[in-house]
């Protein structure tokens, strides 16, 4: 069973607020899930290090560094989605 402190540490890393009740349930659920993951210990080892392979992508996909004209409405929509704004800027809380 993973400890309450460990759940709290992971929640902090994940930037997630958990209530007392959620923390307890998470302890139970994560322990069951992590126990299930133990089946991988029995999996055969592979010789080379794993490579992330995808279909048809033989090299990095890059694009030309060009300015692409997009409608002004798009920028407005994107900024407009922010919960806190001033003019055309997104407002952020002070960090220090």
């Amino acid at each position: 069973m993973i400890s309450k402190e460990e759940v709290q540490h992971i929640a902090k890393l994940a930037r997630l607020e958990l209530t007392e009740q959620e923390t307890e349930k998470m302890q139970k659920d994560m322990s069951a899930i992590l126990d299930y993951f133990d089946v991988l210990k029995k999996a055969p080892k592979i010789k080379s290090s794993p490579v992330v392979r995808t279909t048809g992508l033989k090299e990095n996909a890059t694009r030309k560094d060009l300015v692409v004209e997009r409608p002004a409405s798009l920028a407005n929509n994107l900024v407009g989605a922010a919960p806190d704004r001033k003019d055309d800027y997104i407002k952020v809380k002070s960090i220090l």
Binding site: A14, L16, L18, T55, R63, K93
Partner: protein
């Protein structure tokens, strides 16, 4: 003639012959949604105004042009993970309850270019995490064949909307079975497409090495038409590849079908197994050669999948911070805005997955979990590579059981994960797979899974189409 029963080609021909208009068909579907969705719960938003405007525009094209695109005037539903400009896109989450899509997803642009009609946005498990659509923050979608049971997930709204005749077709996404499993549970056709074959631009990210958009439809032919329309390279999605669908006809006679023995091991409902075995027998009677094959790493697939999916999702969902968009909980300090917004906005399963993924990636556990899962992914990919040296396609069940009761698995996340046991390997190996309605246990549909090699959707669709005629 009931307009709601017609397939894409039948509608297209009807438009051509002026038997009915797109507006009439669209209105019939909107009416059906009004009549039935109180019970089914497939739709989160019905975009009536947009649908009628698009139908009217399609009718103008149909009236003036001799030839028009196949999907012109065809009404469809969209999983609420795929953005339609100007419409709310919730991803099934409270954190995006009021989020208005700032642009169209590429797949929507492509369908719009043909003149297709958006009926609305349909329900899903929050951020496409689940197997039953019970994790939606809004409602549970019922199975149209038995409303005490789940529609499957995560594209449960998509599958239910097609099964309940509330849309001609739907766009879904499949990260670990999310198109095939609900299609199987609801008795419709669902195609998980090859990784890279369809653009994901404008689709809310779940797990980026697994997610793929695909069609849910009434028939195999409809699925083919939609796949052809939405596939191909997109400059806005660097993982999409240069691909052009080419229709082919593969005869069942002489076709080599692999049947993986690991997919019929303990855990499968004997009634489901019987239906799948009977379908395999029918293919054999039609001249196909059946080979028992082995995918020896299958037993590790589910664990590897849930490590990779949760890890990638935990990184992808870091973007929901209460600052850029979505729900924001007020707090004095920036860090508290993050923590509180995410705590308030995400549901239980999404939190569980973010936690599991963060754990798997965290210092001290990375090698035992994430790295090990990537190694197993390689073994699973090799299993399929070896199989496709011997066979053309693989036949398997989609799910070990038919649609389960609402609430049956909600308290036990691990039991819910087991619903994905026959579908996740396909995603880990970047492959395409289709669910074809094949039989019923009582009134509950059961789908046959047809898996093909990369970019061999054409082969899968041809085989599925012949199976479909035999099973009818």
């Amino acid at each position: 003639m009931n307009l709601l029963d017609l397939t894409i080609i039948e509608l297209h021909e009807g438009f051509k012959k002026k038997q009915f208009t797109s507006t009439e068909v669209t209105k019939a579907y909107l009416e059906q949604i009004k009549k039935t969705d109180g019970q089914i719960g497939a739709y989160l938003t019905v975009t009536e105004e947009l649908a009628l405007a698009q139908a009217e525009a399609a009718d103008k094209i149909i009236a003036t042009k001799k030839e028009f695109p196949m999907l012109c005037g065809i009404p469809f539903s969209v999983k609420d993970l795929i953005m339609v400009e100007g419409q709310i896109c919730t991803a099934g989450s409270k954190i995006l309850e009021k989020y208005v899509a700032p642009y169209d997803a590429t797949v929507i642009k492509k369908l719009n270019a043909q003149g297709a009609v958006v009926l609305g946005k349909v329900n899903l498990d929050e951020f496409a995490m689940g197997s039953s659509t019970e994790n939606s923050a809004y409602k549970v979608t019922k199975n149209p064949h038995d409303i005490t049971r789940v529609a499957g997930g995560t594209s449960g709204g998509s599958a239910a909307s097609v099964a309940a005749k509330q849309a001609v077709f739907s766009l879904g996404t499949d990260t670990g079975g999310s198109i095939r499993q609900p299609a199987s549970f609801c008795g419709v056709v669902g195609l998980r497409t090859t990784y890279g074959s369809v653009s994901r631009y404008g689709v809310v990210a779940d797990a980026s090495s697994l997610d793929q958009v695909g069609p849910i439809a009434k028939t195999v032919e409809d699925a083919k038409i939609i796949f052809e329309a939405i596939s191909g390279k997109d400059a806005m999605d660097a993982t999409s590849v240069d691909y052009k669908f080419k229709d082919i006809n593969v005869e069942l006679k002489g076709l080599k079908i692999g049947v993986p023995k690991e997919y019929f091991a303990k855990g499968i409902d004997p009634k489901v197994e019987k239906i799948i075995r009977e379908a395999i027998k029918k293919a054999q009677d039609a001249g196909a050669k059946i080979f028992q094959i082995s995918l020896p790493s299958s037993k590790y697939a589910l664990a590897a999948y849930y490590i990779i999916q949760t890890s990638e999702a935990s990184a992808n969902l870091a973007r929901y911070d209460g600052i850029k968009y979505g729900l924001s909980s007020p707090a004095e300090k920036l860090l508290d805005v993050y923590i509180k917004s995410r705590g308030a906005g995400f549901g239980a399963e999404v939190k569980r997955r973010i936690m599991t993924g963060t754990y798997s990636l965290s210092s001290g556990y990375y090698d035992a979990y994430y790295k090990k899962a990537q190694e197993v992914r390689q073994l699973i990919t090799q299993d399929f590579e070896n199989a496709f040296k011997k066979v053309d396609v693989i036949f398997a069940p989609v799910s070990p059981f038919p649609a389960f009761k609402i609430g049956e698995n909600t308290d036990n996340p691990l039991a819910m994960y087991l619903a994905d046991i026959y579908t996740v390997s396909v995603n880990l190996a970047y492959l395409p797979g289709l669910s074809l309605p094949t039989g019923k246990v009582g009134k509950l549909p059961v789908g046959l899974q047809i898996i093909g090699n990369h970019f061999e959707e054409n082969k899968i669709l041809s085989v599925a189409s012949q199976m479909e005629s035999m099973l009818r």
